[in-house]
């Protein structure tokens, strides 16, 4: 009887997931943590991963923190109430992947891949068609080259097991488990993600792409990433891709910690395009030591609700933090994004540029925090957020918080909301463009100076993606 109930519960959970993505699960009970969250689920994950006792304790402690913390309902959207924590599958082991055939992929998704110019082999992976795209080879080639430089590029389990002397010191230190409810959740059940160490003075020329590595193993929805750039080193890390990625799991809660030691530079590029059934609640924070630079380039196009505020703690003299953010909210979507800059040393500078576009009934929100305490001097922040509203019932909100004390510190914040001017559209239509083409050209112009900051192939794809999103938005 109990077994039947369990099966039923499981099927329900899968059904919830399947509503958007048309995924099927291979029925396999070999490594199954089941549905819902409890101390035994956390123990189970830790056991499967063969983790050391301190990690297990860390997970258990985080679970308690998660249970003790309230949902952030006094400022956040009430849509969060729709997350049913007891209906979620917290761990998918090997052999329990989502599969479907290419024929089952919806036509509009296929069309999107074509329009974006995604290579044939990648399309199948992105659409969730199992084991068609061989990324293993690409990943091992990349790994070999990096190893020559002394770069470590692995998952959290390997990282904490094989290199505790490097990763343990910083793991959970930039974002402690108690930082917020979703960071605590991630700390309890994390699996998958990237642990990266760049040795002193090493400048990695090519961007490290999570895409290849994560595809080679099982990608977890509770991704945990820790990047440590040692003194004077430089690295660019890219996650996500412009193509829509159909996801089985409705809740994604990643924790990303960046550590830029003296004089190091980290650039972290995200393109988030989850399917529109996903709650994407992510905590991202970097620490910049003396003269170091942490730069987040963040682009949010997909998901039902994204809440993500990449931050930089400017801990060393002369450190620099930057967040460049693009958000596009279409019908039914809420992009609640922003940035945090915590100045904690003299002569630190930070820059935030956020641009959002709301289409149809989409809603985009900017939330920001700039903090300069009284002991500091010569700190500077510049914040600009611009919002573009396309349709009559599109919505945008801006909620920055700025707190300044101390000597010779200065902060400037500006935000503007506008629509595409009728003159611009008229001008372009006079030259033979359709209204839709004119609109997407104007929107691309609006984000152009940020799109330029992305690596070449991303920026081309991003432009096409924006064109695609703008289709049918006018007229």
């Amino acid at each position: 009887m109990a077994e039947i109930d369990e099966n039923l519960a499981q099927r329900e959970a899968i059904d919830v997931d399947r509503s958007k993505g048309d995924f099927k699960y291979e029925e396999s009970y070999a490594f199954d943590a089941g549905v819902g969250l409890s101390a035994s689920v956390v123990d189970y994950i830790s056991k499967v991963k063969d983790e050391e006792p301190w990690i297990r304790e860390f997970r258990q402690k985080s679970l308690k923190i998660f249970e003790g913390l309230p949902m952030p309902t006094h400022w956040a959207t009430t849509d969060l109430d729709n997350i049913k924590f007891d209906k979620i599958r917290y761990y998918l082991a090997k052999g329990q992947k989502a599969v479907r055939t290419w024929e089952e992929v919806p036509d509009d998704v296929k069309k999107t891949f074509e329009r974006l110019g995604i290579p044939e082999s990648e399309r199948k992976f992105l659409a969730g068609v199992e084991a068609q795209f061989d990324s293993e080879a690409v990943y091992s080639r990349m790994k070999e080259e990096l190893e020559k430089l002394g770069v470590i590029f692995c998952g959290p389990t390997d990282g904490l097991r094989d290199h505790p002397e490097i990763f343990r010191k910083w793991f959970g230190k930039v974002i402690p488990a108690g930082d917020n409810k979703f960071a605590a959740l991630n700390s309890a059940v994390f699996s998958g993600g990237s642990f990266i160490y760049i040795p002193k003075g090493v400048k990695v020329a090519q961007p490290l792409q999570a895409y290849f590595r994560i595809n080679a193993e099982n990608f977890g929805q509770f991704e945990r990433t820790l990047i440590i750039a040692d003194e004077g080193s430089e690295v660019t890390y890219m996650e996500g891709c412009t193509a829509p990625k159909f996801e089985t799991a409705t809740l994604h809660s990643a924790v990303v910690e960046l550590v830029a030691l003296k004089g190091a530079k980290i650039q972290y590029i995200t393109v988030q395009n989850w399917s529109a059934n996903v709650f994407n609640l992510v905590t991202k924070r970097g620490v910049a030591e003396e003269g170091a630079e942490v730069r987040w380039i963040d682009c949010n196009i997909g998901s039902r609700l994204t809440m993500k505020y990449p931050g930089v703690v400017l801990r060393g003299k002369g450190a620099r933090g930057e967040v460049l953010s693009i958000a596009l909210a279409n019908d039914g979507q809420h992009q609640d994004t922003g940035a945090k800059m915590i100045h904690a040393a003299d002569d630190t500078t930070s820059n935030i540029i956020a641009k959002s576009i709301s289409v149809g009934s989409g809603r985009s929100t900017y939330r920001g925090l700039v903090h300069i305490p009284k002991t500091l001097k010569n700190c500077r922040n510049n914040t600009e957020c611009d919002a573009l509203l396309i349709n009559e019932h599109s919505r945008t909100d801006t909620y920055p918080a700025i707190s300044v004390r101390g000597q010779k510190n200065s902060v400037q914040h500006e935000a503007s909301v506008s629509k595409v001017s009728a003159e611009q559209i008229f001008y372009m239509m006079q030259r033979g463009l359709s209204e839709g083409e004119a609109m997407s050209l104007a929107v691309n112009g609006f984000v152009n100076d940020l799109v330029k900051e992305f690596p070449m192939e991303y920026s081309v794809e991003l432009k096409r993606l924006i064109e695609l999103q703008m289709e049918g938005s006018v007229g």
């Binding site: 920055p400 004390r405 200065s410 914040h413 629509k419």
Partner: protein
């Protein structure tokens, strides 16, 4: 464990409140209004620091203990304070309160009376114009976090004035109201109700002052402005309570069709002062301008919360709040522009500029936008910084001492808002109070 809680006294004393409310038995609805205020006050919790609407405020130190309604002032004191109330040489009319008691009843010229203008104490207006008051008195909730304080204001409502200017009447001379606190620990609840009829033109100046520089009091004031089509209202409100006073001010303004409203809120006094200003723009063509200005010194906390709600399209609102900070002072500006889905062609702007003149001062800024219509022009800007080095150098190169140069530049910074006060005497009074703050430090 026998813990004996001390019985609430002063403004928290239920018997005292009932006794005063009983005096209004003749105006039954008003007694009910006060009683409702009392119940609402009891049912609401004190704000805490976790409350988003009190973010950055020092909510922990909020306390309503130890304040009580004060007795009527002596005639000598009243006369002395009336003598200090002439900020405008020839006002349309002047009303003076001391510790919540009216000591100078306003007189109106025969022409104004003939035109149907009403400028009376709240208690007189209760008897003379009950219908007008029932329609307009405290019709808006405090939506910015001060609901408990506004409820206490409603519970103790008695002092204040009603200014009604009928359709088409234009009055150029400003009306002036001065509220003083004198008794130590006095609790005052000044109310201002301004109703401007169709195409009426009126200007009012409100001064809230302490009889002594360090007067200790609790002041919870409220002001409601109602405007008819095409009305023009301009208001200057100066918060200059004594330096040990806690002040809460809840203002509500309704901008009717084609109305033009200008309000300048200045803050110089109190230990902590919170201003909540809500503007509802519900008529197309309305133009509402909100200005704020302060010089915060010592350990003062000025907490400014504003909300511009656009429910009608083709209207305009513009906000500029400027703060100069010295000592360990703190200012919080939290502003929100809300544009409703159908309020197309709205122009709404919001600017907060803070000038830090001391390394220990703190300026917090929370400028917000919530826009649900697409054909709008909305923007906000917030800056916090120091006096410009080049400007300072320029002045010093001409032999002006550092302190003087800093003050000159700070006054230049503030002048932009002072210039918005239409009445020259009012502007001069304000200029004097602001500049005096630079010399107290």
């Amino acid at each position: 464990m026998n813990v004996v809680a001390s019985a609430p006294i002063g403004v928290l004393d239920v018997a005292l409140h009932s006794a005063e409310t009983n005096q209004f038995r003749a105006q039954d609805w008003f007694a009910v209004l006060r009683q409702q205020g009392w119940h609402t006050f009891q049912s609401l919790p004190m704000p805490t620091r976790d409350d988003e609407k009190w973010r950055f405020s020092d909510a922990r130190s909020l306390s309503l203990d130890g304040y009580a309604p004060a007795p009527e002032p002596t005639e000598t004191l009243a006369a002395a304070l009336i003598a200090r109330s002439h900020f405008v040489a020839r006002p349309a009319s002047l009303i003076v309160h001391v510790d919540g008691h009216c000591v100078l009843r306003p007189a109106l010229s025969p022409e104004l009376t003939a035109q149907g203008v009403c400028f009376e104490t709240l208690t007189d207006a209760l008897r003379h114009h009950p219908a007008l008051l029932q329609e307009h008195l405290l019709k808006h909730a405090a939506g910015l976090g001060g609901a408990k304080f506004l409820a206490l204001h409603q519970a103790w409502l008695r002092a204040g004035y009603v200014l009604f200017v009928p359709k088409g009447v234009e009055i150029r001379q400003p009306f002036v109201s001065v509220n003083w606190t004198s008794t130590d620990g006095a609790a005052v609840f000044p109310h201002a109700l301004i109703i401007a009829g169709e195409n009426a033109v009126v200007s009012i100046q409100d001064y809230h002052l302490g009889a002594t520089a360090d007067a200790r009091a609790l002041a919870i004031s409220a002001c409601d402005i109602h405007t008819g089509t095409g009305a023009k209202v301009s208001r200057l409100a100066v918060q200059g309570w004594g330096s040990r006073t806690q002040s809460f001010q809840v203002d509500n303004t309704c901008g009717g069709r084609d109305a033009l409203i200008t309000s300048v809120n200045a803050a110089v006094g109190s230990r902590r002062a919170r201003l909540e200003n809500t503007v509802r723009i519900d008529g197309p063509g309305a133009d509402v301008r909100l200005y704020g200005i302060s010089v915060a010194t010592g350990e003062q906390e000025f907490d400014q919360r504003t909300l511009q709600i656009h429910t009608a399209g083709q209207a305009k609102s513009d906000l500029l709040f400027k703060n100069a900070l010295l000592g360990k002072a703190r200012t919080i500006f939290s502003g929100l522009i809300k544009v409703a889905p159908d309020a197309q062609r709205t122009d709404a702007y919001q600017t907060n500029r803070n000038l830090l003149l001391s390394p220990d001062a703190e300026a917090d800024s929370l400028p917000g936008l919530e826009i649900e219509a697409n054909d709008v022009k909305c923007s906000h800007g917030a800056t916090t910084g120091q006096v410009d080095e080049n400007e300072l150098f320029y002045l010093r190169a001409r032999g002006i001492p550092l302190e003087v140069a800093q003050e000159l530049l700070a006054q230049g910074f503030l002048e932009e808002v002072i210039a918005k006060v239409e009445d020259e005497e009012g502007a001069e009074a304000l200029r004097g109070m602001l500049s005096a703050k630079f010399h107290q430090v």
